[in-house]
Symmetry: C2
Subunit: 369 residues, 2 copies
């Protein structure tokens, strides 16, 4: 009987987890399945939704006595594999069923039609760039909150990647706030712009970049491809022109202040508690003087909060009205202990930068009128 | 200015948490508030919803310079107190606002009308019984899952308490399953029956019984009262007659089997995964023979599970169809390493008992036809 012996259950579950995340959530779609191909000591797992396609390979975690190929519902198969009792795991395919055997217990799942499963999207040669996997993953993750949720301007639901040959600039904006950062390219490469990766692809992509190593991407017409030892990942790019946001970003500031990021976040959390369901906006004040401070004020029908935050570096007096939730998102995607707030004016965007020498990351939040 | 200095913020938050749980969830009701009365080094917190009334007292965790009384929205006040920045906390009342001061930051919350706040329900003298607080709390908690959710027979939404003078019998049932246990009474007392505590009151009651000590309850006409050093708790009892369930409980069994509780729970979890949204029922088999086993079988359109569980003590062959979710609830409320399953017949309820000498607790699950 054709069977796969599982030698490393944990490694297989990890692989299934990464692949399943790329499967569609629509239970009736063939795309909610994963394809598993086993050949001797090698296993290949494929998944694809409307946007991304993933193919993962591993050696020596399984042992097949004959070539085996099947498609099963991704989430169900993963859940079952995660919950198996202790013992040696063997997978067999019988008629239209995959059967997981552990001791005398058996867990059968109907297979899906192999020929209906989408063909893997091929790696497309194009403009190449190489980056540090984990650094790129972290930079991309920090962008997601600033992407738009609205389909009225679909191009804003992605992260814009621009290359000047030496580093990538990542930008995301929903037109109320913006996040940007730069990531060094490891070998000098071609310039490009208007590469916009859907935010839905980024979560999957980042889970594939966790190893400490260089990874190579290729950008063709409407596709971003990644190929490493065990991974082939492609994502469709968003069509359209990403807007020029440089005009949005102030370059001179009326006031700057340095605050402790965690304390600022906690103060914002209290502000959110006080606002409850009656609003999202608070007033922020930089106060100069012998005892310079950074204050937060908010008022609802039943609450009235005044926060005074310790500051590290004082600035000129100014007030600005900002969305507390946008500020929270931005501060949560920054890693530094302290952040520098740069206020260009009461009616101009505020910049938030990690207070770290040489940091390229920054967030921007537009004031509320 | 009238003010309360908070000396033990953590203890106060704990007290507020216990009281707030008794406040109503309806945000527009005065019952969503808590009343705070501060007098020198003493603080009293009151809350009451439609069913329960709680009054908690503590000494030396606050210091008021004058007598102070106010009513504030319970959840909001608790949330704010939990999230305060580090530093000395002082509470003042100004006009119709309670203001929490920490350093130069202030958090104001509008007060609610004191005269609209429900009067505390008085402790009512009645039939007295004394029990170990934590033991009683644990026994009550284990009942909740078996209470009915349906208002078609309101009496089944509570836990039935019966006293024979020496111990209490607790019973809960939704007519598809049942949970029962006995709790020793510390001093011999009067007999009573038909005391039915709403399950919504039990969660609150159990949080008040966590200290290792004897507690005294009083049962009057339609009220259960608890009075300890710092706690006055009352709950309305459910009206009506709790059904006689003794006829439901089999006393002879066709088959008995002892299984490992955790392993049984894990197997049920796999069964639930395999059932997905297509059902809740599985078939359970006791198989005698040279290698006696306890098996679980379930089948849906896309899955087919056969589980073989190790058993400690074999029984006569029998099969029974049971609700997997009811079994899970029952096993989760039992603490023992092993459980004894007592099957009275294919169409009769199955009993589940902790495999511990002298245990009085048992669950009962009716078969599915």
């Amino acid at each position: 009987m054709t069977s796969i012996k599982i030698k490393e259950t944990k490694a297989l579950i990890d692989l299934l987890g990464k692949a399943s995340a790329a499967a569609s959530n629509k239970p009736d779609s063939i795309r909610s399945g994963i394809m598993i191909v086993a050949k001797k000591n090698e296993i290949t797992i494929r998944a694809a939704n409307e946007t991304i396609s993933v193919q993962l390979n591993a050696k020596d975690i399984t042992e097949a006595n004959e070539d085996l190929i099947f498609v099963v519902p991704a989430k169900l198969f993963l859940d079952m594999m995660k919950k198996l009792p202790k013992g040696e795991v063997v997978i067999i395919v019988e008629d239209k069923n995959v059967i997981i055997l552990v001791g005398k217990s058996s867990y059968g799942i109907s297979t899906l039609a192999i020929d209906e499963f989408p063909k893997p999207v091929a790696y497309e040669e194009g403009k190449i760039f190489q980056v540090e996997g984990p650094e790129f993953a972290q930079s991309l993750s920090a962008m997601i909150h600033a992407c738009s949720d609205s389909e009225t301007r679909p191009i804003l639901t992605g992260v814009h990647i621009v290359s000047n040959g030496k580093y990538l600039t990542l930008i995301a904006t929903d037109s109320h706030r913006l996040m940007a950062t730069a990531v060094p390219i490891l070998k000098e490469t071609e310039e490009f712009k208007n590469v916009v990766v859907p935010k839905t692809s980024i979560k999957e992509l980042t889970t594939l970049l966790t190893d400490e190593k260089e990874v190579e991407f290729s950008i063709s017409d409407n596709q971003l491809s990644l190929k490493t030892d065990g991974v082939l990942f492609t994502t469709r790019l968003l069509e359209g022109s990403f807007p020029d946001v440089t005009k949005l970003i102030p370059t001179t500031y009326e006031s700057e202040v340095v605050v402790h990021r965690e304390e600022f976040l906690k103060a914002l959390d209290r502000t959110k508690t006080a606002l409850g369901k009656s609003g999202k906006v608070a007033l922020f004040h930089v106060m100069e003087g012998t005892l310079p401070t950074f204050n937060i004020e908010c008022k609802t029908e039943i609450t009235n909060v005044f926060e005074e935050l310790f500051i590290d570096e004082a600035g000129a007096s100014i007030s600005i009205k900002l969305d507390v939730y946008f500020l929270t998102d931005c501060l949560q995607s920054i890693n530094s202990q302290k952040v520098r707030l740069q206020i260009a004016g009461t009616m101009k965007p505020m910049l938030i930068r990690p207070e770290i020498q040489g940091a390229t990351q920054f967030g921007l939040v537009l004031p509320v009128r």
